[in-house]
Symmetry: C2
């Protein structure tokens, strides 16, 4: 069977994070994750609370829903989760989208390899820092990075680490120095992913963003790095599906 | 003589705009512009008010000041203006930085070609929309884009248009459709580049950003586009030299 569990499909909207920040894109969010990060902002994909939303879908069905929402006004699709890298079958959707000349972005924590990674146009590997309470398996991560290098994908990949604390920052630096040939993004963590008070949230996020910038600018070990916020939270706060 | 008129040198800080948004970088701002945009946020580079700041500097002197500020903690320099493309002599600085293995970003409105454009790692061509009160010479712009394509630079260039109004948006679309093979960025205009009330400024900029996103998402002629704010104004408001 070539179906995958889909949690939600939405867009067109902008990609708020990382290497394709600002990009007009559609989103396909898959269900299921092998992690359970303390601050996960899409826990409904794996904690049971969104169980009723899951639909098992073929590539063609997903495409139909994308077109229904976005018409012919998009050329980019972001595959998100959960951890989409759990799904071997996602290869069908990847192939399907490539045939339609759609560019594909994908983010995964780097806990699992899939052969279809090499067909992703913008692949973000986002290992999780200590505050997530998850442990990075660096043997697996090393092997994923090496396979991507071997596939000559280094133009199409980046590493992104979300930073909440000084400890997270140190972890991020360790990751950067370990894979220093790969474009690296620091991202401000959202400490309050439940609040609906957007004005206060933006203020808080900007304070934290300035803290992260200041720290990075003073740090001579971080040279080639981009420091970014989650743009979508500035606009839509913690609202889902925008 | 190989000197260029320098207005200010600062950093390390982040690039707040466009194709290298978030990048840790040093800034070198040159003096002089052939335009006089209605909403120019660096009018002091050309309206006489910053005359006393101008220093005629050799590449080596500029480098010394960069190192004094940034030590060995940077690998990226942004050349900004004014319009740095007025300066044939900037080739010396470009060569010098390349020798030091520093990546170079540069922005210009696309009113003038320089041979050293092909040595820029990230070149942003930013034609000015109607609200600027400037007129785009599309013959010159066509020839610049063609020379960059011929030099096989298309991976290293982007077009960015700042949008304040519906009219600007239509202009932006016209530019995008004319050079549809070049990565394209829409940027929210800052309508109040004098205020020191940062909270109000951020609120205003976010409202405008949402407006621009909504418009672009509904527009089927804008497919492959990135919509971005000026990040630095979110953090530092209209402050100069950060
Ligand atoms: S890896 Fe991502 S989806 Fe999975 S728990 Fe962590 S933050 Fe959530
Ligand atoms: S081209 Fe740039 S520097 Fe020159 S006047 Fe316009 S905004 Fe100002």
């Amino acid at each position: 069977m070539s179906k995958v569990p889909v949690m939600e499909i939405f867009g067109p909207t902008i990609q708020g994070e990382g290497m394709v920040i600002g990009q007009k894109t559609m989103f396909v969010r898959t269900a299921g994750c092998d992690y359970s990060c303390a601050w996960c902002d899409s826990a409904f994909t794996w904690d049971g609370s969104g169980k009723g939303l899951i639909k098992q879908m073929q590539a063609e069905e997903i495409w139909q829903e994308l077109v229904q929402l976005g018409g012919d006004g998009f050329s980019h699709v972001t595959l998100s989760g959960g951890n989409p890298a759990l799904l071997k079958n996602l290869s069908h959707l990847v192939d399907f989208l490539k045939e339609k000349e759609i560019k594909i972005g994908l983010e995964t924590q780097g806990s699992k390899w899939q052969d279809w990674f090499v067909d992703i146009d913008e692949l973000t590997i986002s290992p999780k820092p200590p505050s997530s309470k998850m442990n990075t398996d660096f043997d697996i991560l090393d092997s994923i990075m090496q396979r991507l290098r071997d596939a000559n994908q280094s133009n199409h990949i980046s590493i992104k680490v979300v930073v909440f604390s000084d400890e997270d920052y140190d972890y991020a630096k360790k990751v950067h120095l370990r894979y220093s040939d790969i474009p690296f993004f620091l991202q401000v963590g959202n400490e309050d992913n439940k609040t609906t008070d957007n004005t206060q949230l933006v203020e808080q996020l900007l304070t934290k963003y300035e803290w992260l910038i200041d720290k990075t600018m003073l740090d001579h070990e971080f040279k080639n790095v981009k420091v970014l916020p989650q743009l979508h939270t500035y606009i839509w706060g913690n609202k889902r599906g925008v």
